[in-house]
Symmetry: T
Subunit: 149 residues, 12 copies
């Protein structure tokens, strides 16, 4: 039964209040509830955190590296600007799944490039809340495959 840390990046605490035409009406609590439900179904243990600070996310990743088997992270704005979070993921050596509510490849040019992708197992973008759920599935699937072999 894998331990999975889910990290919500900056501004995601405002979800539902924020640009609804881009992200829909769901709040972060809604998403977390769905994640917990699916985790129970898949037999995973979740820790879910939201942080606005780049350094706080770096610290969080370092702190959970001994507990967690995988990271599901929506780096939000830091996707495009943070080498520090990239380095933190590389340092833990944990498999990371990068998720995005919107399809970042369809938005402003500066959102097409992900600094996180270079150290992530994979990326899921564009499915709203569903991106998180698919990410959780992917994380469990990776855990199952690696513990099997």
């Amino acid at each position: 039964m894998p331990n999975i840390i889910v990290i919500h990046g900056p501004n995601l605490h405002l979800l539902g209040k924020r640009e609804p035409e881009v992200y829909g009406k769901l709040t972060l609590d809604d998403i977390n509830a769905r994640l917990e439900a699916l985790a129970r179904e898949l037999g995973a243990q979740l820790r879910i955190e939201q942080r606005n600070g780049e350094g706080e996310i770096v610290t969080l990743i370092g702190e959970t590296m001994d507990w967690a088997d995988a990271v599901v992270i929506n780096p939000a704005a830091y996707t495009h600007t943070s080498v520090a979070i990239r380095d933190a993921i590389a340092a833990t050596g944990l498999p990371a799944i990068e998720v995005h509510l919107s399809n970042i490849h369809k938005r402003e040019e500066f959102r097409h490039k992900s600094l996180i992708a270079g150290v992530a197992v994979g990326q899921i973008a564009g499915f709203g809340c569903e991106s998180y759920l698919l990410g959780l599935r992917a994380a469990c699937s990776i855990y199952t495959n690696s513990s099997r072999s």
Copy 2:
């Protein structure tokens, strides 16, 4: 019950014989079998095709536009070079889910840019065969949501 066309792009017929350190040992038949199994579970109807030609994929998309409710496509090499497939997806107006076996954002620079992303609902990359399965789930979820509303 949604009709979903799954399109495998160029060279994917060689899967399993091809660069196993990048893509794993699964053959295309293995992937298709898993897709069919999941489709049964999710109550979806699949049509699965593999094409090596850009124009053939364009033709295929045009032909299935009346039958299909969604497209799950791994454009492979054409991800980075085909405006024609992009235009075909835009022309059908069907929701398209772009999937990739490998995390294209970690590979050669020229594979970071997807011409397809601009017209796709979302992108799933880096989970091997699992990318297709997650893509199928996403397609069904989109169908359910849109037919509900």
Copy 3:
């Protein structure tokens, strides 16, 4: 009386079903009928073909090089990606008129650059169906001028 091959590139068979806010409601048959009518008026002989494949267009150009006096081509998506069609036009040595339904210079950045322009006599873009008709006039005018001198 000039022989003119009119080539419609990929996805143009979907015309009328496709992004009407960009291209209008005309179907390819409508355009072809208008072309035939104008050809009769101008005393030209037309052969009209639509192809989705880059290689098919290359083959078509090679096949008609002995019959045709000029080429009116809407390369559609291949405008921006095909060196092969460019080389085919250069190889035939026939005057080519490049036409586009929409004004490609106003659309996405990647549609501003035409690989075909470098080997075409001229370019007409942005007038919908009228672009083809103006292109046919241009082709006839070039034929008349060159056979005169």
Copy 4:
């Protein structure tokens, strides 16, 4: 019966004296005569002006905005450098047809980009004097279509 302002940009008063291998031997008077003849045939009213100054063209466009139904403009060198003429066309809200004697997409790199294209209905380039005539036809066709609807 549409009123159409035809604007010849900088250096076009030298036509016929200038780089004949690029533009042919026609003078501006020759072109204007052909334009007048075609206008009579198509039932259009023309005003034809040549200006060397960017600001003069801006002023001219502003002055004729109440009289003209469409603009046929060969911005010549200003095609590639003038945001002011672009803004003037946008300000009038009149349909503008951009014409070029030579195929600008085949010439020096800096001539490939048109600042005017972003606000023009369409572009016709590469047919010598014929570019103007096709442009006039396009202008009349646009007028007819819009006054019909």
Copy 5:
């Protein structure tokens, strides 16, 4: 009477001690005093905060979104690097006025580009302390106009 949050970005607490040839001798307290005086004159209510952390500014913007009618922000170094603050401003939907002590367009190349500008009403740069005062006036003027209509 509008509520306006004034945000001073990183290093602005060092003002007066810092590169005086670029920014002058005023301290942050001096600027704040002038802002308060002008606010009284214009009938505005101010909250003034300085933060060094990008995440802290994101948090601050989120916290004041219900109280504030407008934001006057000098993002300082984060102007050029922070997508997170940009997203926070977009999320609140409040009008934001971007101010800079120095004319950023005259300094190092990397300071010419503002990530904040894309979501701000306007930008005022180069007038030292006066930039803030003009920004406050702009904020009040926007409030007056929008509450009038």
Copy 6:
């Protein structure tokens, strides 16, 4: 009591008639009236001119250099293309305030770069007519500070 020359660049004589969704309904006369009113309040002497030609603006700046204490200029389209106006401002040595009705940093890519900024004291953009009024205040404030010291 400072003498201030206010320069309106190309197409601004069309204000009010022009793209109202971008610039609002105010005419140039409305703006000038507000400028005159504020000038009286601030004790400044104004000269206000509008020019469509780049060279005319260069000439105007040269002519007023002995009379004026500061320049408030909206270079409009020339902001992005005119080295000559930049050089004229540098040549006079007068403080120049660059103003823009719209936030140029939010518009087309080619409007993000100001050639004028490199020689201006500061830039105010995005506040419509208010940009001019803030610019006039800035000009007076600079005059007061420099004549005091």
Copy 7:
């Protein structure tokens, strides 16, 4: 005795009719005859194919991967645009020799970059028909060295 597949890319069937100042007067049959003669001399078995379609070349490479010991390929226009052919070569794992009639590094800028080179053993360009013959020698030499060790 090595089995070698020789692949001629798009438009090469027009050789001899095509831009003779660039490629000379030899037809494809002439080249093939010389290749066959040299193959006999070197003790190699040849299969020679020409294809205009990118997908057709991908298919061809896949089909001959079990028979062939090496590939001699002139990708022609696809050299610069085809990721699919690159992937096909990588998938077969066969040594590929890239040949070009002309020195692509001396032609238009867009012909300087080869997408094929990244997966080829080596490249021979600029010697007309001789490029193929040298390529065949190289293929045999590689076969001899690898079967020896």
Copy 8:
């Protein structure tokens, strides 16, 4: 005895008043006097003009094309922005010598590129007033050589 038109571009009428640390204290009249003196020595006939407008320079070049044997031009700011002056020089077919007071290759990046250079015989930059005198010598030398042969 050659006829030579000397053209001073925008802002050069302010010479001596303008950025003396870059251009020295000489006025335009000083330079013109030295040019006249050297012309007498070399047996050349001069016409000297200064213009601030791009279009005015275009017109001037067109007007003097029948009289002049060569052009000595300091395009000043238009060096870097004017395609129209470039086209005017090309249209006249007269040898043009491009001169600059300062070494443009040492100044701001945007001054390194000359649009005029592509149609000029040569360029002389960096010697202050002496640049004009050397340019006049070059013009006479070209005239002598071409009339000799």
Copy 9:
């Protein structure tokens, strides 16, 4: 006897656990012990801090500016992304020595550019723990030279 603040940037608290093939097995405590030992030998007073947050480093630099004579900083990931730390160093006016465990110029392209270098005395990269020791020596040497003169 100089006071020197040593700043370890983000993720350096994970040292020894992190990508050992790049950074070796030393922990941050090991490095700090060696720094303290060398400081005693060189007669320097150290304060050593590690921070994950960009804003925290900015705050730290501001706080120690009165105590410290020099800064030895390994900005880690912030080397490439932080204008704020750059500005903080510039604001303090203290000599800063930039150190890196690995040779950043040999790693990913985005690590080649240091935003800190523009305000640092010098840079030492690639010698593992030794980079810090050499950096401390450099700091002492600068202190000695400047206090001597």
Copy 10:
């Protein structure tokens, strides 16, 4: 019987000692012996030289221009940086064959561009010692063809 100068560029005297995983174990003497043997077979006269200095290679090319009928050159590192060797080859007017041991198009980005290619007949890269032998064959073939015609 052609005279051919073979030039080995910088560091090639270290061959065999140098990065064997890239270039193999052959020494320069081994290569030269094979070249001499093939030259005897083909009836060519060789002069073989190795130089480390760019200027020395320039001088060498100039010195042998009267004796040599062709140049086979491996410019090594100077391939990517030397305009002087390019100019030397252009100056002699001799046909030059550019050879490389490794496939430069597969190595670091900065090795993809050859300054020599623009003046060479052709390029052979990636076949180790065999590149030289193929280059010698190409040189003899060119000599035979040109002396025949």
Copy 11:
């Protein structure tokens, strides 16, 4: 009476034999003779050297720095690639005049940029042998002006 070192860069010893359509038929001896004649007329003392090696030119500049009052240098190919010669000129502190036979700004893109220009007084390009003579005049004029003041 100034001492002037004239330096001819790589390949210039081949002048007259080399690309006569670009540089004319003059040999280096012809140019040197004209330079000596003009030097006598202007009262200057010349030392004239030609070098093919970048390092040799660096050494030469260093050696003559005590004797020479100015440098007239045609860096030829090194214009575009040599930081070392640039540094040598900067190190001597002597005024340097950069001359070119051809107008480098009209040739291949890579010849447009001069690394030498950044440390030269001025540049003269495009007048063949005359470029040297004008350069010598400029050098003497600079000497006269500086020794006068």
Copy 12:
């Protein structure tokens, strides 16, 4: 006891005479004396050489490869332009320490990129003469560590 070759690149023989505001007043002899003193202290054997020619440095590196245990090199201008020196260092397989008197990352843009860094252990820049001394310490430390293990 390690043998260390210290290489001074082009123009460093002029040190002390050269741009003292950038490099200080020390001569090369001063630096060498300090290096010798420190070498004695650290128990190292030095060979110190200065070369102006790129090829000479390549030759020097090749010659000392059997004697030396490490290279301390200040490539000066060749840092930014020499692939040949890079290849020479790679060929010897010796650890190389790159040193610079000035902080190259703070100077002209073209000095920010080091071609040498890609093959060096590390880089030390900005500490004047001290850069060499720190480099020598680094070289000895590397030698000690590698001979220990």
